[in-house]
Symmetry: C2
Subunit: 230 residues, 2 copies
DNA sequence: CCGGAAATTAAACACGCGTTTGGCCCCGCG
DNA sequence: CGCGGGGCCAAACGCGTGTTTAATTTCCGG
């Protein structure tokens, strides 16, 4: 009680006190603070992880007060999930598009080409995969597993199985292991990109990306094609 | 002041009070608490990340008081680096062994086989790669880059380059991109193991591991060999 | 058999966190 | 012109963190 009234008194003294002009609505809202918070959250959370980044840091990066996180998103967790929803949207849409367009007879290598092109266009996807899919505590892990097990994985496995049946692919090819290799070749270069970029003379601009995609698809095609020496 | 004396009084009351027998050196030290702390740290830090795990949690998992972390390792950070040193030791030793044994003319696929066998034997290596090598804030990143750029990478690239020169490997093969694919096929399955293990009927026991290694080495060999249709 | 070193503990401290509160200041409607 | 509400902020609260301290017990060499 005593402490409370003391605090109230102090607050009242500093509240309607002297140097106030910082508080209040800004003159002409040129910025969309909600979007700025989402962008800052995407960059920080996907780089350093949820626990390692404080709501204060995100707010500071967006040039805002920590309280705005709760004003717009209810909580730090709310900001996080909102960011994840926004960041995963293009990936989900791209997969839908690819599956709709795949003519059923498509070459797995062509699918890989399209897949890598999408990832190359969204630089935060590697961090998302690293933190939310492959890390044991990832929040989107279950969603990803459901999505992948239900839609993407079986399609690719079926594509490979049909290729084996038609004699186009190696007869001793295990379709599920081939899917693992498919994902390895398509995803790992992006995950390892920051490290490998400093080790190899490997640029990841548009040209370097095209070279990587060409190389990976060729290697997968040649490695799975029938009539190759094992 | 008032609060301080109040706390002191309370401490005095609970301090030399009645039920004390928990404090002090344990009768016969059957356990190696230092090793227990290192093991708990390895499991928790490599699963959830440094910031997400508190020193109290590690101590609790090892059945010890949080103060023991500082007694043995000076700080939480000290425990972490000690754990990393211990966890990376077998990987470094294995690479040394592999490089010493490699007869210079070795097949890259054979190197990949040995590489994957080593990783399969140490279940925490995937987490280590995920958190310390490929994540942007990884503590061992610089060490890894130095080690890799200085010793492992160039050796493999040279092996591939020689294969291309001798006409054993595809003439249009970029050796550096081939190294990327080499690492993709060798490392990614382990990183993705917990996710893929729930999607595919893929077991990662000794038998499943052998099948994966055989498949990956075959795919890489066939995908890089000369005389395959591109 | 005694005294100091080693090992362990409970308790406290300062600090940063996520969140809450209260109020300022501008805009647009009446 | 006035005023109500929406956008925004400073400050505070309670809690958990890493770390320190002091106390306590056992072990072991002389």
């Amino acid at each position: 009680m005593a402490t409370k009234t003391a605090r109230a008194a102090k607050a009242a003294r500093t509240g309607p006190g002297r140097p106030r002009r910082t508080r209040g609505r800004p003159p002409a809202a040129e910025r969309d603070l909600r979007a700025d918070l989402l962008a800052a959250a995407r960059e920080l959370f996907l780089s350093y992880g949820y626990r390692a980044v404080s709501a204060r840091q995100v707010a500071a990066k967006a040039g805002a007060n920590p309280a705005m996180v709760h004003y717009y998103f209810g909580s730090k967790q709310g900001l996080y999930t909102a960011m994840l929803r926004e960041a995963t949207a293009p990936m989900v849409a791209a997969v839908d598009r690819m599956l709709a367009e795949a003519p059923g007879q498509a070459d797995p290598a062509a699918l890989m080409d399209a897949y890598m092109r999408v990832i190359g266009r969204h630089p935060w996807i590697p961090g998302l995969l690293l933190r939310e899919v492959f890390a044991p505590e990832g929040a989107y892990r279950e969603d990803f597993i459901r999505e992948f097990a239900g839609r993407v994985g079986p399609r690719v496995v079926e594509l490979i199985r049909r290729g084996v049946g038609a004699g186009r692919l190696r007869a001793d090819l295990d379709p599920q292991l081939a899917l693992v290799s498919f994902l390895s070749l398509a995803l790992f270069p992006f995950i390892a990109r920051p490290v490998l970029g400093r080790v190899l003379d490997q640029r990841f601009d548009d040209e370097g990306l095209a070279a990587l995609i060409g190389h990976s698809t060729r290697l997968f095609a040649a490695g799975t094609a029938a009539g190759t020496p094992t």
